[in-house]
Symmetry: none
């Protein structure tokens, strides 16, 4: 209740760079909000201008979110039909947004290349699975390059958070729901650990790095 500082006023909207939002909590929260507003805006356009709009969205995780002012399949079909019919003749027919957008993305790319915060995972493609015999952690950590370490770290962070989420669920007795755990600490309520999870190989692997 005590306000330690009177001059600590609220900040108001800040300007942010056009780059990937690293903070996961913030990202999660704001994505759904902004996606919803984008959809609302599209809906407004549909009404104001008697347009027909479909928005196909895939989240970072590959989850689909879509908007359409009417049957979405019909819009898609209509577009595909138009798309294959008339090629590059019609002026109003961009595969891409428009000239301005090209500049936009060129700019964005430049930014990315400068600060390269772009996630490794976003650009990954299937790699030839190294030794078919091995588990993924068989890769020698010591020999990993920075890129690979990035992926590892990111992946582990995410999994750790997911596990932490699940932990909270269990603790609170929730049956479902996404909760982002306080990713700082993972302290759990006791447990005797006599019942090992189904990951013997993994634990064996860890042994090598214990000290």
């Amino acid at each position: 209740m005590v306000k330690k500082d009177a001059e600590k006023k609220r900040m108001g909207r800040q300007k942010i760079d056009i780059k990937f939002i690293e903070n996961k909590e913030n990202r999660q929260v704001t994505f759904s909000k902004r996606r919803t507003r984008l959809f609302n805006k599209a809906a407004d356009l549909c009404v104001h201008y008697d347009a027909s709009i479909a928005i196909l969205t895939f989240s970072r995780a590959g989850r689909p979110y879509a908007f359409a002012d009417r049957d979405i399949d019909s819009i898609i079909h209509r577009f595909v039909r138009t798309h294959s019919d008339q090629e590059p003749s019609n002026t109003h027919y961009p595969n891409r947004p428009n000239p301005l957008m090209d500049d936009y993305f060129r700019l964005v790319k430049d930014l990315e290349e400068e600060t390269t915060q772009s996630s490794a995972l976003a650009h990954r493609k299937n790699m030839p699975n190294s030794g078919g015999s091995g588990f993924w952690w068989d890769a020698e950590v010591d020999s990993l390059g920075l890129d690979e370490l990035n992926s590892w770290v990111e992946a582990l962070e995410r999994l750790r958070e997911n596990v932490a989420e699940r932990v909270e669920e269990v603790q609170k007795g929730w049956s479902q729901g996404e909760v982002c755990a306080p990713s700082s600490s993972l302290l759990l309520v006791d447990s005797d650990t006599s019942n090992m999870a189904p990951l013997p190989e993994f634990l064996d692997f860890l042994e090598q790095y214990e000290f």
Copy 2:
């Protein structure tokens, strides 16, 4: 020029109803502007949240305008593929333009949050790779007990530390390396993404638990 009348101030933005804009000139002019801004907003989302978005628009006259942050056909195909699989979960269908739109969207939002939360963890789906062979992460996190979760957490914590250690090693020998985070996060800066880590299955697995 001289303003003849001081009291005749400019009006600023007015609030307008959510209905078709009758004035044709006005309609034509503002449509392209707002469409462009909609596309820009979508582009922002793509960058901020590493999302992939395609917007298919047909004007009243039937002219197509489209936006996509990458090859639009691939997005459409991806959507069609996904869409046929998992029914109408995250899709907004504001079918009608009328004042009830607000209620509609509020309702849709509620629905979305429901389905999002439930499907987030429950949507364990078919992985092309994870056919039958058991990777350890194939264990359903959802169904793990507290003891097992403890094991997971412990193991992951240790591995994370080891990886973090290795990260530090690499960084010492790497002139340009910078840690992008306080101490809780381990994300690194830079690296080109040409050499990816050998853990496709693991990453696929993680996808399902990301939001």
